[in-house]
Point group: C2
Chain length 247, copies 2
DNA sequence: CCCTTTATGGTCGTACTGACCATGGTCAAG
DNA sequence: CTTGACCATGGTCAGTACGACCATAAAGGG
């Protein structure tokens, strides 16, 4: 039900809305942007310059503008923070909305959180307004600003779970990748080692997960036998799923 | 990032917030309340009495109050709509947030949608303010108000997916239930028939999914052999999952 | 030339699943 | 009372998937 009830006096009613009073909220987006770099899971963070939490790292984000959806706001903010222009193929997944009254000490802010996955990202050049944007390793992060620790933990959990039953892992990889790189995505996000032949068997047995680039091969940094290159296939779901090893 | 940027002139800045301008949004919750009644999946809907969409069915919901979270608002609204007082054990799951600018023609409304599951629910007595609240079968619903068709479809998809890898199905059942009733939940939500012995084997082989009530048995409406009664166990996840049959 | 490293291919036993068949208890109709 | 419908329960059997290996191939470094 939308704007149906009249319980909240004190809000400003927009034109034509004299029957309905409502409480205004600020609506923002927060972005948990993950990538696999240098063999580790990394997160895009910005350093806060103002109170509260001045000097702390925080997730990038910002206000939702009057004429855009939260998804559009998330893409806009991400483009501004990273300086990337082409985010069309980017996987952006809505995590959940955080609405606890005290989460921002200054005012009532409802924040729609998104998880985004980037392959081989550029170093952010602190694009527009953010004080400083950097990639930082996921492990060993100090406490973040606001409730961003929890948002980031939720993003990690969600991405880890989606790797099990979707073909999402290719979003972490460049357009052409080796099966070793794809396996490394799983191992990095899950924090567990996988058996290489078994992983290979599973991936190749799933129709549409990956398709081989004919004739191409790449050396994985010069060591070992050259690996065949693959592209992401058309499939979106993994059936049956690729479950995390149970410890 | 919270309330960090100054891009939106025209919003009212609360006290102490002169540095930050923001656009106020109305924030509501929408509830997709599902149950299994009379052998069919049913949804709790309210009939709208005012424009827009007067006379259409809509999901119950309402404004988030200034001092409550979206989860608290959802529980409060649900209690008001159904007249139920004890919703402590109720499974409430945040679906996602719908924020497209045109989804409410009157004003900018951002809605946090929840899916709720009720076992054997009472007939709602149109409790507080809602014009009329009723359980309606999920199949064959005419178009709902606003974007509630999509929210309901998302809720159905989410619940169906969660049945696969969680013990959520017991939330549809009364405190004590037969395995036939539990299987019926799966069949109703998924819309597929399941093999009874195989379902039974799978459920009993999962530790903590259900535990038998000693000595108790119930006739399933008088026909057939009496079935043993079970309670929900302590487990929350299903490992390995109980996958939908692939058609 | 040997060793390390990585990719790729295969085997084998176990666990799980889907498709059955069989039995037993209860009710209702004949 | 008998019979059949109906449902719960128990079991079999084969195909599949998966984990734990072993083996081979191709590259680079000492």
């Amino acid at each position: 039900m939308e704007a149906e009830e009249n319980r909240v006096p004190g809000g400003a009613a927009p034109e034509g809305y004299d029957r309905y009073a409502f409480e205004p909220f600020a609506v923002t987006v927060d972005l948990a942007v993950l990538t696999v770099r240098a063999g580790a899971l990394q997160v895009l963070l910005v350093e806060r310059g103002t109170e509260p939490y001045a000097g702390r790292w925080a997730l990038p984000g910002g206000f939702v503008l009057p004429r855009e959806s939260a998804e559009e706001a998330a893409r806009r903010e991400l483009a501004e923070e990273t300086g990337l222009s082409d985010l069309t193929g980017l996987h952006l997944e809505q995590l959940r909305t955080y609405s606890e009254p005290g989460r921002d000490p200054r005012m009532r802010v409802v924040s729609v959180a998104f998880a985004a996955l980037l392959p081989d990202p550029p170093e952010p050049h602190g694009g527009g307004d953010a004080a400083q944007a950097r990639w930082l390793p996921f492990d060993g992060l100090g406490p973040l600003a606001f409730d961003h620790d929890r948002i980031l933990a939720d993003a990690h959990e969600r991405v880890g779970a989606k790797l099990e039953y979707s073909c999402l892992a290719t979003s972490f990889c460049p357009p052409e990748f080796t099966l070793g790189e794809l396996q490394h995505v799983y191992e990095t996000v899950w924090g567990t080692a996988l058996d290489r032949p078994n992983f290979r068997r599973k991936v190749l047995a799933t129709p549409g997960f990956v398709e081989q680039v004919p004739g191409a091969a790449r050396l994985t940094g010069g060591r070992g036998k050259p690996a065949a290159l693959y592209r992401a296939g058309g499939a979106k779901v993994l059936h049956p799923p690729l479950l995390r090893p149970t410890p």
